[in-house]
């Protein structure tokens, strides 16, 4: 592995989840566990029904097209892709058919790696279409849920210009973040809102092209990473063994369980979809004014926030990069800032304990009991010297476990850092009075006795004394003796 030049192309399907209704029907566009509850006659292909384009879905698509530096069409129209399959009751899908005009053509986007370097991904096209129904194949039956049929779907197709599994995932993560930041989609792969097709080929160098193998319907970024790694290995081993002719232009699927890809069909018998322009949707002009209006409404994008976190709050590229990956994390962070939390402390808490906790417990940061308000109580308690950082960490977990206010827990647990001068002086005096021998040794030059005194004070206060204050007072009191 590693000796061949790897070329990867991606097709990323993302459901547009944030429109009120579906892309061509008035059924609700809403994720629900109740099958076949969000459907209108069109979604089941009843005779005489007609598609009506959802303008909001078109607006969101054009925004994505602009963000990806694509060319937008002068006129918008759709095409029929004809095929028989039970997940598509009309037996044609209304879609767009690049290189015919679609919402976005010939764009690019620059992606930042974790190490700070960047790479550019060419966007062949992005087009708007309707999703199919979802199917479950049981032992001897298949069940169909038409809730998903007609949900707007954006398909983004990159040029074959990515050269590692890591870069592929960085790209996908960033595009997902854009969908979320722009309020276009939750882009939640657990809800099946993101599906990827991955093309992988290997060659001796960048001037030659290998045989392209496609993996269909990879449903997670982890899967994309695994599928690419596996394919590079599989193809490389065949090439190493002089059996590269066994690498076929074919469609495979990623098998999560075995961590391998499995052949589905050869590309040679690809279906003829008999595309033609959808006659029920008149071509409509995309005006410059509308495009400009959409451009102006593009919200702050992830990399813009990242740059801001670095320049304004002095965060490292690494930390800022983690914060912006998910809009909810970024929003959580910004809420902390607006509440007055120290930016670096907030960032450390989020990238460390909080994301660790949400990952471990599989919950969303916005659903966490520990809201930015509660985190802010913890952070300011540290800053005010009320609690030590060790106490803070204990408090953090107690808040999450007990679902109680941090103030209450601090009270009930007696978590109070002793910073009161009088109290500390009296404990210090007590310790010094009990250790006259040790004072003697200290005075005779055994300066490490100082730490011993600190330890004794902390022991007496069960760790609640403010160590800075303790040291100050000790120095002071020792000098008097």
């Amino acid at each position: 592995m590693g000796k061949y030049y790897v070329t990867i192309g991606l097709e990323m399907h993302c459901e547009v989840s944030e429109t009120k209704s579906k892309v061509f029907s008035s059924a609700k566009n809403e994720y629900t566990e109740t099958p076949n509850s969000n459907i209108r006659p069109l979604d089941m292909g009843f005779p005489g029904t007609l598609p009506v384009v959802n303008k909001e879905a078109v607006r969101m698509s054009l925004m994505m097209s602009e963000i990806l530096n694509c060319r937008q069409p002068e006129y918008m129209y759709f095409e029929r892709k004809n095929y028989y399959y039970p997940d598509m009751p009309k037996n044609y899908q209304i879609t767009q058919n690049p290189p015919e005009d679609c919402v976005g053509m010939n764009g690019y986007i620059d992606i930042e790696r974790e190490d700070g370097s960047t790479f550019r991904v060419g966007i062949n096209n992005i087009h708007l279409e309707e999703d199919a129904a979802s199917m479950d194949h049981l032992y001897d039956t298949s069940v169909i849920d038409y809730n998903r049929a007609g949900v707007p779907l954006l398909e983004l197709v990159t040029e074959p210009c990515i050269h590692s599994a890591e870069d592929a995932v960085s790209f996908l993560e960033y595009i997902r973040a854009i969908y979320q930041y722009c309020g276009i989609s939750e882009a939640d792969s657990k809800k099946g809102q993101i599906r990827c097709d991955v093309n992988v080929s290997i060659s001796d160098d960048e001037n030659t092209l290998g045989t392209k193998v496609e993996m269909k319907n990879v449903n997670s970024f982890g899967g994309v990473f695994g599928a690419i790694q596996y394919e590079i290995k599989r193809q490389s081993e065949l090439k190493d063994a002089d059996r590269y002719d066994e690498v076929e232009q074919e469609t495979r699927r990623w098998d999560e369980e075995s961590g391998t890809t499995i052949r589905m069909r050869s590309k040679v018998d690809a279906e003829d979809y008999k595309y033609f322009v959808e006659p029920n949707i008149p071509k409509f002009k995309i005006t410059k004014e509308w495009l400009e209006e959409i451009r102006k409404s593009i919200p702050e994008l992830p990399y813009e926030r990242k740059a801001k976190y670095m320049s304004e709050y002095g965060l490292s590229a690494y930390d800022a990069g983690i914060l912006i990956k998910d809009i909810n994390t970024a929003n959580y962070f910004e809420k902390c800032i607006s509440l007055g939390s120290d930016a670096k402390m907030a960032a450390n808490w989020i990238t460390g304990n909080i994301l660790g906790y949400t990952y471990k417990h599989e919950i969303e940061i916005q659903d966490l009991y520990l809201t930015p308000e509660r985190l802010n109580v913890i952070i300011s308690s540290i800053q005010d010297g009320k609690i030590s950082s060790k106490q803070a960490k204990e408090l953090f977990f107690m808040v999450l476990e007990r679902e109680d206010e941090p103030e209450n827990i601090m009270k009930s647990e007696g978590m109070q850092q002793i910073s009161d001068d009088g109290a500390i002086v009296s404990v210090v005096t007590e310790v010094l009075d009990e250790n006259s021998e040790q004072i003697e040794q200290y005075k005779n030059g055994k300066t490490n006795m100082f730490d011993y005194f600190v330890g004794q004070v902390m022991k007496k206060t069960r760790g609640q004394a403010n160590p800075v204050k303790v040291k100050e007072t000790l120095t002071n009191e020792l000098s008097k003796r």
Binding site: P41, F46, V52, K274, F276, P282
Partner: protein, 485 residues
């Protein structure tokens, strides 16, 4: 027959002054429906339980009418005259029908026609052949054959039809009545079972031009369920109907309408074209001018093929929702593919299967450029050539078909090549989405023949006015079929 032979305005007046009730009209219409069913096999469903309705100031209130069975009607069997939907009862109404229902119009039956509108003969409905009420040995033409037969037989003053090639205007001609399809998008197609979406039109068959204006006034309107519909609220076809057509300029296509193009013309074609030219003289007597113009012969000859390619291609896709899995009778088989095949094999008539195969063929990647894309280009050229004429003329006038209705038993004879374009030229109206109306203009071989007026898009009023004036200048206005056999 007491009332159903009257016009909508006459019926409305009698309903308003209490001379007759809606209940009585419905009863009469239902009785006549059964007569027409026996004689012409005009209907898929006769709604015997229909009650009379309230009579309001709306001209259509309380008056019975018929609906072609390819309109979706809530709670009423809607088969499209196809076995693939022989048990389908929709749960929503077509917009055009709903618009009439809201005005108090009363549907009494669902009329048969060629399967899903794909046919010009009225011989392919799953319920059998529709017969011409003037002579039951002859066909009605199609596809709105049942609607045309019923209106011609005097079952009611009007019935809804659909028109993809000439499916309202040809049967109107063969049955001696009025058939009008307005500009594309004036009437919403929502709920009309699609045949070829870019060519499909809703429309109406009546016995009076004014009735056509009244009904389309009611059916039309922008519909949020049909993106191709447009706002016509400023158009009032009935209110603005006038027979003052002095100075209007008509043209006809010499390559199609002059007898000397057809050296082998039979008696009927000769009589039909002579009659057409007689009608042109009537137009002139009304103060209009009529010119014969030349249109590129190649374009004219391309009309039937262009229609065949585009309509079949769109139909292949439009009808692919008919699988028997979600609606329609389920096919048999071990898996969904077999079930679907069984449903479609049993459900479709041979004619439709042939067209679906043509449609599939012309859309295949390797054929698409040569057939489908070229047909679309030719369609554009034909429309442009006609629109060029509309710069100088108000409307085009043409004979309907090559003569009167053909014999049902002779329908399998191939049409003669040199008259094919004449037979199919009303398809120009579908290519361009032009408003187009057929009215009766005489008899050939004791059977009615018709003449057609077609205008530029959105010129519906003008087209209707010309037809209205011409109708009044001839003696066929409001005629009801008198069986000649």
């Amino acid at each position: 027959m007491k009332y159903m032979g009257l016009s909508i305005t006459e019926l409305h007046e009698k309903l308003k002054n209490g001379e007759v009730t809606s209940e009585e009209l419905v009863k009469e219409s239902l009785e006549l429906s059964h007569d027409a069913q026996e004689k012409c096999n005009a209907f898929v469903t006769i709604l015997d339980d229909t009650k009379g309705g309230e009579v309001t100031d709306d001209l259509l209130s309380g008056i019975p009418f018929g609906v072609k069975d390819n309109y979706s009607t809530k709670g009423v069997l809607s088969t499209g005259s196809s076995n693939t939907l022989n048990d389908y009862v929709p749960f929503f109404d077509a917009t055009a029908y709903d618009n009439l229902k809201k005005r108090g119009a009363i549907m009494v039956n669902k009329a048969a026609g060629d399967e899903f509108g794909l046919g010009g003969t009225g011989t392919t409905a799953h319920t059998g052949v529709q017969r011409n009420p003037w002579n039951t040995d002859h066909m009605c033409a199609g596809s709105s054959s049942g609607s045309a037969a019923a209106v011609a037989a005097g079952v009611y003053p009007y019935a809804l039809g659909s028109d993809t090639g000439d499916s309202i205007r040809k049967p109107a001609g063969f049955c001696g009545i009025v058939g009008y399809k307005p500009t594309y998008g004036m009437i919403s197609r929502y709920g009309l079972f699609p045949f070829a979406s870019s060519l499909d039109h809703c429309g109406v068959l009546t016995r009076y031009v004014r009735d056509a204006a009244i009904v389309v006034d009611a059916m039309k309107g922008i519909d949020e369920l049909d993106m191709t519909s447009w706002d016509s609220s400023h158009i009032h076809l009935n209110d603005d109907l006038t027979d003052d057509v002095k100075g209007k300029k008509l043209f006809y296509i010499k390559e199609l309408c002059d007898l000397d193009n057809y050296p082998n013309a039979d008696e009927e074609l000769t009589a039909h074209l002579n009659n057409f030219h007689e009608t042109l003289k009537k137009c002139e007597s009304l103060g209009m001018t009529v010119d014969g113009v030349h249109i590129d012969q190649a374009l004219i000859r391309a009309i039937p093929s262009v229609y065949q390619v585009i309509s079949c291609a769109e139909a292949t896709s439009n009808l692919s929702n008919l699988t028997g899995l979600i609606f329609g009778p389920r096919g048999e088989g071990d898996n969904y593919i077999e079930m679907m095949k069984d449903h479609r094999t049993k459900g479709f008539s041979p004619l439709i299967k042939r067209r679906l195969i043509i449609g599939s063929y012309v859309l295949q990647t390797e054929n698409q450029e040569r057939y489908f894309k070229n047909a679309q280009r030719a369609r554009r050229l034909i429309v442009d050539a006609i629109k060029e004429q509309f710069k100088n003329y108000d409307a085009m006038i043409s004979p309907v078909g090559t003569g009167p209705a053909k014999l049902i038993d002779g329908s399998k004879e191939m049409l003669k090549d040199d008259t094919l374009a004449l037979e199919d030229q009303l398809q120009i109206g579908n290519f361009g989405g032009f408003p187009s109306i057929t009215i009766p203009n005489g008899f050939v071989s004791n059977l009615p023949v018709g003449i057609n007026i077609t205008g530029n898009c959105y010129e519906d009023q003008l087209v209707l006015n010309i037809a209205y004036a011409l109708e009044s200048a001839m003696e066929y206005k409001g005629q009801i079929a008198k069986e000649v056999k």
